[in-house]
C-alpha cells in the first residue's frame, strides 16, 4: 500500500472514525482503524463491534493495499501536522509497519493484519427511507436528552423510532424516556418507512450520528431490519446494532385528561428557572412552581444555601396549584422549544405534566413532578 493524501481530508475522516473507537479496549484490533486504498480512494473503518463507521475519501493511490493501525495515535499525529501538508502513507512488505511521512516528519507505526479486523458482513436491511439532514437533527435533538442511562432497564438506553399515526396522518415517531420524563417527536412518515419495525437506536449511535450530520447537505438514507440500522450520507456509512428489547408502551404514560393549561414565554421562563435553581441543592435540583391568576412564582430552598424566588407572567385561569420539578429537566425541555411560547398542561401536583411548543406541535414532553 502506498498513497498520498491531503492532511485536511485525512484529518476530517479520521476525526469521524476515531470517535467510534473506545479509549480503553481489551481487544487490541478494536483500537485500530482499517485503512484500505484502492481506485483513487482511501477507505477508513472503525468499529466497537456494535457500531461501525466507514468513511471514503479521495487520495492518490500509488499502490493499492490495506492495513490497520491505532486510530487514536494516527489521529493525534495527523492533528499535529502543519496545515496544508501532503501526507504519504506506505506499508513496506506484508504485515510490515505503516510509514507516515509529511514534510520533514516521519513516523513508523505498528500495525495489525487487516484479516484480523472484524468484517462487517452484508446484511439484509429491507426497510429503506430517506431523512433530510434537518429532520434527522430535529428528531435527535428533541428526544435524546431524555434517554436513560439506567443499566437495568437497558431498553431505555436509546431512541425508539417507529411508524405510527397521528390522527389520520401516518407519522414517523421518535420517543425517549427514563421514567421521570419523556420526549416524543413526530414528522410525516417518509416514503418507504411504512412497513418498518419499531427499533431502539442506542445512545452511542445517536450521538455519533448527530456529530456527523451537521454538514450533511443531501438526505440521509436509512436502511434497517429489526436488528440493525445503516445510515448512509456523503462519504460516510454508519452501521449499528439495535437494542434488543421491547420499548414500554409509552402512550399510556402520556396523560390525556390534563385540563389546567398554562402558557409562558419560554425564554423568560428558562432564564428564571436557571436563576432560581442556583439555590436548589446539587442533589435534588428541585424548583417549585406556584401557579396563581396570571402569575407564576418559581422558588427554591436549600437548608445550606438559603432560598430564591422569582415571579413570571403567565396565562393561566385555573385554580392555584403548586408543583415541583427537577430544574435541569425543565431546562432540557425549554432548550428544545424554539418558539416563543411554551404550554404546560397540568392535572395536579403529583401527576405527570405535558409541555409543548405553542408554535410547533411536532414535539411533546411529559415530566414527572418531584415532591417539594
Amino acid at each position: 500500500m502506498k498513497l498520498t493524501i491531503e492532511r485536511a481530508a485525512l484529518l476530517r475522516s479520521l476525526a469521524h472514525v476515531q470517535s467510534v473507537v473506545e479509549r480503553r479496549n481489551t481487544i487490541p484490533i478494536l483500537s485500530n482503524v482499517l485503512m484500505e486504498a484502492q481506485d483513487g480512494r482511501l477507505g477508513m473503518t472503525a468499529t466497537d463491534m456494535d457500531l461501525t463507521i466507514v468513511e471514503q475519501t479521495a487520495a492518490s493511490i500509488e499502490e493499492a493495499g490495506a492495513t490497520t493501525v491505532s486510530a487514536h495515535t494516527l489521529y493525534d499525529i495527523v492533528r499535529k501536522l502543519p496545515d496544508g501538508s501532503e501526507v504519504e502513507l506506505s506499508v513496506a512488505g506484508d504485515g510490515g509497519q505503516l510509514r507516515l511521512r509529511a514534510g520533514r516528519s516521519t513516523f513508523t507505526l505498528s500495525t495489525l493484519p487487516r484479516e484480523d479486523f472484524p468484517a462487517v458482513g452484508p446484511t439484509d436491511l429491507p426497510n429503506v427511507f430517506t431523512l433530510q439532514g434537518g429532520e434527522a437533527k430535529n428528531l435527535i435533538d428533541r428526544t435524546r436528552f431524555a434517554i436513560s442511562t439506567e443499566e437495568t432497564r437497558y431498553y431505555l438506553n436509546g431512541i425508539y423510532v417507529h411508524a405510527a399515526s397521528s390522527g389520520d396522518l401516518p407519522v414517523l415517531r421518535a420517543v425517549a424516556t427514563d421514567g421521570h420524563r419523556l420526549a416524543r417527536f413526530e414528522m410525516p412518515l417518509p416514503e418507504g418507512a411504512s412497513g418498518m419495525p419499531g427499533v431502539i437506536v442506542p445512545r452511542k449511535t445517536v450521538n455519533e450520528l448527530r456529530k456527523l450530520i451537521d454538514e450533511v447537505e443531501d438526505g440521509i438514507e436509512v436502511a434497517l431490519s429489526d436488528t440493525r440500522v445503516r445510515f448512509t450520507f456523503g462519504n460516510t456509512i454508519l452501521t449499528s446494532k439495535l437494542i434488543d428489547g421491547t420499548f414500554p408502551d409509552y402512550e399510556r404514560v402520556i396523560p390525556s385528561g390534563n385540563d389546567k393549561a398554562m402558557s409562558v414565554d419560554c425564554k423568560t421562563f428558562a432564564s428564571a428557572v436557571d436563576r432560581v435553581s442556583t439555590i436548589s441543592t446539587e442533589k435534588s435540583r428541585a424548583v417549585k412552581l406556584s401557579l396563581g391568576d396570571g402569575a407564576l412564582t418559581l422558588s427554591a430552598t436549600s437548608p445550606e444555601a438559603g432560598s430564591a424566588e422569582e415571579e413570571v407572567v403567565i396565562q393561566y385561569d385555573g385554580p392555584p396549584i403548586e408543583i415541583g420539578f427537577n430544574s435541569r429537566y425543565l431546562l432540557d425541555i425549554a432548550h428544545q422549544i424554539e418558539g416563543e411560547g411554551a404550554e404546560f398542561m397540568l392535572a395536579d401536583s403529583s401527576s405527570p405534566t405535558i409541555v409543548r411548543d405553542l408554535a410547533d406541535t411536532s414535539a411533546l414532553y411529559v415530566l414527572m413532578p418531584m415532591r417539594v
Binding site: 442511562t149 437495568t152 414527572m368
Partner: protein
C-alpha cells in the same frame, strides 16, 4: 523557647500536672507511679482514644471467670476474629484473622459470638463521657475516636492531658473496659501514639519530636499508605518516612497525586485534617460470612436478599438513600471481588438493591464457591430524594410503601417478624 520548656509530669491516677524541678518517680501529690513525662503535656490537645481489645474486654467484664483465659470474639466456625483479648494475642491471634487459623494457634481459646447490642451500649457510654469534654469528637468505630480538646482548659479547669487521664479513669471505673490514649497535635500522630503504650496506655508525641519520631519508621505507619502504595513507594526507593523528606511537595504530588501532598506533610509530622464531628456516613453495607462455602447461585441470592432487606432498613432508619450499589464477594480462595453499579435514581428499597445486586451477582458468579457475600449502598443523599416516582413503573411506588409498612410492623414486633417469602427455603 524550647529550652525554657521544662519536662512536665502527669499523674494518671490523680490527674495532677506538675513541673518538678528534679526527676521524680512518684507523683508529688498522690505518690502513684503511673506517670507520663513530656515537655508539651500542658499544651497538646489532640487525642485518639482506642479501647483495648474492646469486644473481648466487654465479655471479660461480664464473665470474670474468663479473666485469665484466652478469649476470642468472632462469628462461628467460619467467621473471622472480631477481637482477641491480650491473653489470646500471646498465641499470635489477631483480629480479622480467619477463625480456623486463630483456633489452630490457640486451641484452648474461649470463642464467643459477638453481642453487638451490648458493645453498642458500652460504646454509647464512652461517647457520652467524651461529649462531656468536647463537642469535637469523630468516632471512627464503636471503639475508637478522635477528640480535639483545644480551648477546653478553662471550662474543665484542667489541661487536655488531665481531662483525658480523667476520662480514661472514668471509663475504666464506670464501664469496666480499659482504653489507650494517644496525645499529640494532629490525627496522624495521635493515632500512632495511642498504639505505642497499649493496653491501658497514655502516650504523647510532641510537636518538637514528631518529625524525628517518624523518620526511621516504615512508610506504612502513615495514614493511607496501604499495600499498593507501599509497593509503589518502595519501587521508587522510599522505604522509611525519612526517605520522603528530600522530595518537594510538587514532586510528590506529580507522582502520587493528592496523596503526594499528604505524604509531604505527614513526613514532617503535619496533618491538617480537622476532627469531623458527626461526619455523615458515606455508605451503608452489610455482609455475611457463611458457615460453609456456598456455590449455588440460588442460595447466594437468598443471602443477598436478606442483606438487601437489612441495608434498606438502615437506609430508611437513617433517612438517606444510596445511588450506587456495591456487591462484595469473597471467593473460597479468599480473593475479594467488588462490583459497583450506579442506579438511575437514589434508592432505599430492598427490591431495587436486590434487583441491581442480583444482576451483578449473576454477571460475576463463577463455579468454585464463595465464603462471603455483602451488599452496600454508597453515594448517599438525603432520604427525601429516594425512589422518585417513575411513570413507567407505577408498581415501584407501591412496593416501597409496602417496605415501609413492614418496617413499622417489625419495629413493633421485634426485628424479623415480617419478611418477604423470598427469604425462606422450600
Amino acid at each position: 523557647m524550647q529550652e525554657a520548656e521544662a519536662v512536665q509530669v502527669l499523674c494518671r491516677d490523680c490527674t495532677a500536672l506538675t513541673t518538678p524541678t528534679t526527676s521524680v518517680r512518684r507523683c508529688p501529690s498522690c505518690g502513684a507511679r503511673r506517670l507520663v513525662r513530656h515537655r508539651e503535656l500542658g499544651s497538646l490537645s489532640f487525642a485518639h482514644l482506642d479501647c483495648d481489645a474492646f469486644y473481648a474486654s466487654v465479655e471479660k467484664r461480664d464473665r470474670p471467670e474468663l479473666r485469665e483465659k484466652p478469649v476470642i470474639v468472632g462469628g462461628g466456625q467460619r467467621g473471622v476474629v472480631s477481637a482477641a483479648c491480650y491473653v489470646a494475642r500471646l498465641y499470635g491471634v489477631r483480629s480479622a484473622m480467619p477463625m480456623f487459623k486463630a483456633l489452630s494457634l490457640c486451641p484452648d481459646a474461649v470463642v464467643l459470638k459477638p453481642d453487638m447490642n451490648k458493645y453498642r451500649e458500652v460504646s454509647r457510654g464512652i461517647r457520652d463521657r467524651m461529649s462531656a469534654l468536647t463537642p469535637q469528637i469523630e468516632p471512627l468505630s464503636l471503639d475508637e475516636a478522635f477528640l480535639d480538646l483545644a480551648g477546653t482548659s478553662r471550662l474543665h479547669h484542667a489541661a487536655p492531658a488531665q481531662s483525658l487521664a480523667r476520662l480514661a479513669n472514668e471509663i475504666e471505673r464506670d464501664l469496666g473496659v480499659s482504653v489507650s490514649i494517644g496525645l499529640s497535635n494532629c490525627k496522624l500522630l495521635a493515632k500512632i501514639a495511642s498504639d505505642l503504650d497499649k493496653p491501658r496506655g497514655f502516650a504523647v508525641i510532641g510537636t518538637a519530636e514528631a518529625a524525628d519520631f517518624l523518620a526511621d519508621k516504615p512508610v506504612s505507619i502513615l495514614w493511607g499508605v496501604g499495600g499498593a502504595l507501599q509497593k509503589k513507594l518502595l519501587s521508587d526507593g522510599i522505604r522509611f518516612v525519612q526517605d520522603l523528606l528530600p522530595y518537594e511537595e510538587s514532586e510528590l504530588m506529580a507522582r502520587y497525586g493528592a496523596m503526594g501532598r499528604r505524604l509531604y506533610l505527614f513526613a514532617r509530622g503535619q496533618d491538617p485534617r480537622p476532627v469531623e464531628a458527626d461526619a455523615p456516613a458515606k455508605s451503608l453495607s452489610s455482609e455475611t460470612t457463611f458457615e460453609q462455602d456456598i456455590q449455588d447461585l440460588d442460595s447466594l441470592r437468598r443471602h443477598l436478599w436478606l442483606l438487601c432487606e437489612k441495608v434498606a432498613r438502615r437506609l430508611r432508619d437513617k433517612e438517606v438513600a444510596g445511588k450506587t450499589v456495591t456487591l462484595k464477594l469473597r471467593l473460597a480462595d479468599f480473593r475479594l471481588q467488588t462490583r459497583s453499579r450506579q442506579l438511575f435514581a437514589p434508592t432505599q428499597s430492598a427490591e431495587t438493591l436486590y434487583e441491581t445486586g442480583g444482576r451483578l451477582l449473576d454477571e460475576n458468579w463463577k463455579a468454585g464457591g464463595y465464603r462471603l457475600i455483602g451488599i452496600g449502598a454508597a453515594d448517599l443523599v438525603p432520604g427525601e430524594l429516594a425512589d422518585p416516582p417513575d411513570f413507567l413503573d407505577p408498581q415501584r411506588t407501591r412496593r416501597i410503601a409496602v417496605e415501609k409498612a413492614v418496617d413499622g410492623l417489625n419495629r413493633k414486633l421485634g426485628t424479623p417478624a415480617v419478611r418477604k417469602g423470598r427469604s425462606f427455603t422450600s
